[in-house]
C-alpha cells in the first residue's frame, strides 16, 4: 500500500503536513510502509488481529447475546507525537491533575473554592458523582485521583484541547500495552531506528503507586484489583493489570469486612487486604454506603476506608471532578489554586443551566455537540451537524426539562491519522487518552490510547460506537536523556 494520493483534506493530520509532506517524525514510518511488498501490510494486519483473538484481548458489547466478546478493532498505522507536542501535553496534564486533586481535597474538606465564590455550591451538590459521605475524609497522602485517563483532542488549527477528565475508573491502558507489543512485532526495525518512548513499565509504576498508599511502614502490603466480574466490558483489562502487577484480582464476593478490616476469602481462611484498585463505580462499591441494591460491592467497605484501614484507588467521590459541568470550571480551578494560566486549553463549553448559554445552545443546536453531564462512552450525546431535525428537537426538550444535565460545545474537527481502509489509506479522526499516575510524584505515561473513528467522517471514537485503536508513539527528545525503548527495564509480556 502506498501513500501516493493520500489526502489530508481540510483537516489537521498527525502524520502529514498540509502540503502533503510527511511530518519530520513520521518520515521513517512512511518510508518503511512504502517499502513493504504489496499485500504485506494487510497480511501483518490480519496476523495482528488473529493474535488478539487468540489472546482473548476482547471487550464485551452490552446487549449482544451471541459472541458477546469482540476484539477491539486495531489499526497498524500508529499515531506519532513529536517531542515538543508531548512536552506541552505532559506539563499541562501535570498542572491539571494537581489542580483537580487540590480541588477534591478542598470540596470534601474546607470548601474554600466554594466559599470564595469560584465554583457555585449548587453545582457541586447537584453533581450525580458528588458524595456527601466523603466530607471530612483525608485519604493517604491527600491523594484522591490516583489514576486518570484524560481525553485530549486536536482541532483543525493544531491546538490541543482537554475534552474530558476521566477520574473514576478510566479504562484502555491494557490496549496501550498490547498494541505496543503488536507494533514491535510488526515494525521491529523502526523500533530499533527511532527513539520511541517505552510504555511497558506502566504496570510496575502502577504497582509502586498503589504500594505507596498502604499504611506507612508496611513491608509487603496485600494489593488487589477489584473487578465487577467476567461480564464487565473491561474485564480483560482488570485481569491483565492484576496479572502484570502480580496481585490478586478479586470480586466483591471475595471480600468481606471483618473486625474492622477488609478481608479476602482464601483457601486458608480470611486474609487482610491493604490496598484496593477498584474498577467498580462508587455507586456499587458498598451497599451500606451507596446503592443498597448493589450485588457487586462489599458491605462495610466505605467505613473501613474512612477509618484509614484500607486504601482505595481512586478514592470514592472523585467523580465529582469529572462532571461535565464542573469541567467548564477547570480553568478557573487552576487559576484559583496556582494563580497561573492553564497550559492545556478547555474546549469552549456552554452550560445549559446558565440562561444566556442555554438560549445560545437552543438557537444553535445543529452546530453544536451536546453532552449529558454524567454519561460517558458516547452515550447520551447529540452531534448537531450530523443529527436529524427530530433528534435536535428531542434534545431541545431534554435540555429545557433538565438544564443542569447538559452542556454544549462547538464541534471540534478532530485531527486525523492515516488508517487502512478498503480504498487504501484514508484519514480517520482520532483522540488521545494519556494515563497519569498520581503517587509520590506524578507520572504521565509517554504514549496513551489513540482511539480512532473507523467510520468515514465519524467523530465518535468510542469502542461502543464503532471506534478502534492505534498505537501512540511519543518520540524522545534527542536533547534529553529519556530512556529509549530498547534500554528500558522490560516487563515480561503475557
Amino acid at each position: 500500500m502506498s501513500f501516493h494520493g493520500y489526502q489530508t483534506d481540510q483537516f489537521f493530520d498527525e502524520l502529514f503536513e498540509r502540503d502533503g509532506k510527511p511530518r519530520a517524525g513520521a518520515q521513517a514510518l512512511i518510508d518503511r510502509i512504502e517499502q513493504l511488498a504489496e499485500g504485506e501490510l494487510a497480511r501483518r494486519q490480519n496476523a495482528a488481529e488473529a493474535a488478539l483473538m487468540n489472546l482473548g484481548v476482547t471487550f464485551a458489547v452490552y446487549g449482544d447475546e451471541e459472541g458477546t466478546e469482540k476484539i477491539w478493532p486495531f489499526d497498524l498505522v500508529p499515531r506519532i507525537v513529536e517531542p515538543h507536542d508531548w512536552e506541552h501535553i505532559e506539563t499541562g496534564l501535570r498542572q491539571r491533575i494537581e489542580a483537580l486533586n487540590l480541588f477534591l481535597c478542598d470540596i470534601y474538606g474546607e470548601q474554600r473554592i466554594i466559599n470564595d465564590g469560584v465554583v457555585p455550591r449548587g453545582l457541586i451538590e447537584s453533581a450525580t458523582a458528588y458524595r456527601p459521605q466523603c466530607m471530612g475524609v483525608r485519604p493517604p497522602n491527600d491523594a484522591w485521583c490516583h489514576i486518570t485517563g484524560t481525553d485530549l483532542v486536536r482541532g483543525g488549527d493544531g491546538t490541543i484541547y482537554v475534552l474530558e477528565d476521566n477520574l473514576r475508573c478510566p479504562s484502555g491502558v491494557s490496549y496501550v500495552l498490547e498494541n505496543r507489543q503488536l507494533l514491535k512485532r510488526t515494525f521491529p526495525r523502526l523500533f530499533a531506528d527511532l527513539a520511541i518512548r517505552p510504555v511497558d513499565d506502566y504496570p510496575i509504576r502502577l504497582r509502586d503507586m498503589l504500594q505507596q498508599l498502604a499504611p506507612t511502614g508496611m513491608y509487603d502490603p496485600v494489593i488487589t484489583v477489584l473487578t465487577p466480574g467476567i461480564y464487565n466490558s473491561a474485564y480483560f483489562e482488570h485481569s491483565y493489570l492484576a496479572q502484570q502487577m502480580g496481585v490478586e484480582l478479586v470480586e466483591g464476593r471475595d471480600l468481606v469486612v471483618h473486625d474492622g478490616c477488609v478481608m479476602m476469602r482464601t483457601t486458608r481462611g480470611l486474609t487482610r487486604v491493604d490496598v484496593i484498585y477498584r474498577r467498580i463505580d462508587d455507586d456499587f462499591l458498598d451497599p451500606l454506603a451507596f446503592r443498597e441494591d448493589s450485588m457487586l460491592g462489599v458491605p462495610g467497605l466505605f467505613d473501613v476506608w474512612k477509618q484509614g484501614r484500607v486504601a482505595i484507588a481512586n478514592a470514592p467521590g472523585t467523580g465529582v471532578a469529572d462532571d461535565k459541568v464542573v469541567y467548564a470550571y477547570v480553568p478557573d480551578i487552576i487559576r484559583y489554586y496556582f494563580d497561573t494560566e492553564p497550559i492545556l486549553a478547555n474546549v469552549p463549553t456552554y452550560l445549559c443551566w446558565r440562561e444566556s448559554d442555554r438560549k445560545y445552545v437552543l438557537d444553535h443546536l445543529p452546530e453544536l455537540v451536546v453532552k449529558s453531564a454524567d454519561e460517558s462512552g458516547g452515550y447520551g450525546m447529540l452531534i448537531g451537524p450530523q443529527a436529524t431535525a427530530a433528534a435536535c428537537e428531542e434534545f431541545a426538550r431534554r435540555i429545557a426539562a433538565n438544564p443542569r444535565k447538559y452542556i454544549a460545545q462547538p464541534v471540534i474537527d478532530l485531527s486525523r491519522v492515516p488508517t487502512i481502509t478498503e480504498n487504501g489509506f484514508e484519514g480517520r479522526h482520532v483522540d488521545l487518552r494519556p494515563y497519569i499516575l498520581y503517587g509520590d510524584d506524578i507520572h504521565v505515561l509517554p504514549g496513551g490510547l489513540t482511539r480512532v473513528a473507523l467510520v468515514k467522517d465519524s467523530l465518535v471514537v468510542n469502542s461502543s460506537q464503532g471506534g478502534g485503536s492505534k498505537d501512540t508513539w511519543v518520540l524522545a527528545d534527542p536533547k534529553s536523556a529519556a530512556p529509549r525503548n530498547g534500554l528500558s527495564h522490560g516487563v515480561k509480556h503475557a
Partner: protein
C-alpha cells in the same frame, strides 16, 4: 489463594477432563458400531445418555436414541450441560475468570480449543469424519494438560487443577467401565467370541489403554480389563492411580503428612483410597461390578462435596452471615 480462584481452577480442570472423556465415550461407541453385524442402535447408544447426561433431558428434545441424536446431544447440544461444547464453554468461562493466575499459554489453549470447536460446527466433521474430529479434540485436551504441567508453577493453584482433573477422571473411568461392561456382556454365550474380543480392545483403546494393558496381561478378558481400570497402580487412567494423585494434590495443598488427614476432604479421600488399596477384582465382581461402581461414584461425590466445603465455601465467622443476608 482466593477460594473463588481455587474453585474456578478446579472446575476449569474438571470440565476439560470431562469434555475429553465424553469425546472418548462417543468415539469408542462409533468404533463399536462399525464392527457390529446387526446394529441395535438403541441398545448401543441409549446407555451413553444415561451415564453422561440426563435421560429425561434427552428425551425432551430427541425422539429416539440412535447414533445421530446421541452424538449430537453429546457434542454440540448447548442445552445439554454435559455436552462437549458446554463443558468446553464452561472451562473457558472459568479460565477467563482466573486468567491472571493460570499461564497465558493455558488460557490461549482453552480459548483456541473453543474457537476450533465453534468453527468446526460449520462443516460438521462430527458426521463427515468423526474419527478425525475426536482424535483432534483429544489432542487439544492433551495439549492443555501438557501446557499446564510445563508452564504453571506447581504450587497451590496447580494442585487444585490436578485435584479436579484426577477426581473427574476417576469418575469417568468408572462410568466408562460400567456402561461398557453392561453393553459388551449382553449374554454369557458372547464371552470368548471374536466379537467380544474386539469390543474389549475398542474399550481399552478408547481410554488409550490398550497397549499398556497388553504389557500387563497376555489375554483379553473382562476380569482383567476391570482389574486394569480399577486397581492398576501405574496406569494414569486407572481409578487407583487417579485417587493416589488426587490424594497427593490434597496433601500438597494442606502441607499435611501423607497417610493422615487435616481436613474432611483428605479424610474422605483417604478412606476411599484404603478401600481400593485392599480390594481385589474377584471380590468386586462377585458382589456385582455395577453395584460396586455405583457405590464408588457416590463416595467420590462425597469427596467432591468435602473439597467444596473445605476450600471453596469459606464463610466469614458469625457476623458476616448477617451481612450476607443484608445484601440479598
Amino acid at each position: 489463594m482466593l477460594s473463588r480462584v481455587a474453585d474456578a481452577i478446579y472446575w476449569l480442570s474438571r470440565y476439560i477432563e470431562r469434555a475429553e472423556n465424553i469425546a472418548r465415550f462417543v468415539d469408542v461407541n462409533l468404533h463399536l458400531a462399525l464392527d457390529q453385524a446387526e446394529p441395535d442402535e438403541d441398545r448401543q447408544w441409549a446407555p451413553l445418555v444415561a451415564v453422561t447426561g440426563d435421560r429425561s433431558d434427552f428425551s425432551e428434545r430427541y425422539e429416539v436414541a440412535n447414533q445421530k441424536t446421541v452424538v449430537r446431544f453429546l457434542t454440540y447440544d448447548r442445552a445439554n450441560p454435559n455436552s462437549i461444547y458446554s463443558c468446553l464453554w464452561a472451562a473457558r468461562e472459568n479460565a477467563r475468570s482466573v486468567r491472571e493466575v493460570i499461564s497465558s499459554e493455558m488460557w490461549e489453549q482453552v480459548n483456541r480449543s473453543l474457537i476450533m470447536l465453534r468453527d468446526a460446527q460449520t462443516y460438521n466433521p462430527v458426521e463427515t469424519d468423526p474419527a478425525a474430529f475426536f482424535s483432534h479434540f483429544r489432542e487439544a485436551c492433551h495439549l492443555f494438560w501438557g501446557i499446564t504441567d510445563a508452564t504453571m508453577t506447581h504450587g497451590e493453584p496447580w494442585n487444585f487443577a490436578r485435584l479436579g482433573r484426577m477426581l473427574e477422571r476417576a469418575d469417568k473411568t468408572s462410568r466408562i467401565l460400567d456402561v461398557k461392561y453392561f453393553i459388551i456382556l449382553p449374554t454369557a454365550d458372547y464371552v470368548g467370541s471374536p466379537y467380544d474380543n474386539l469390543q474389549w480392545v475398542a474399550l481399552l483403546k478408547s481410554i488409550s489403554g490398550y497397549e499398556m494393558y497388553r504389557k500387563c496381561y497376555h489375554d483379553i478378558s473382562p476380569d482383567h480389563v476391570a482389574e486394569f481400570l480399577l486397581l492398576n497402580d501405574e496406569f494414569p487412567r486407572s481409578i487407583r492411580f487417579c485417587l493416589a494423585e488426587a490424594d497427593q494434590a490434597l496433601h500438597a495443598i494442606s502441607g499435611w503428612r501423607a497417610a493422615a488427614f487435616s481436613n474432611r476432604a483428605e479424610q474422605q479421600l483417604g478412606r476411599l483410597r484404603s478401600e481400593l488399596a485392599y480390594a481385589d477384582v474377584d471380590g468386586i465382581l462377585a458382589g456385582g461390578l455395577h453395584q460396586y461402581l455405583d457405590r464408588f461414584q457416590a463416595k467420590l461425590n462425597g469427596v467432591g462435596n468435602a473439597v467444596f466445603d473445605t476450600f471453596f465455601a469459606i464463610q466469614p465467622i458469625r457476623r458476616q452471615t448477617q451481612m450476607g443476608s443484608l445484601t440479598q
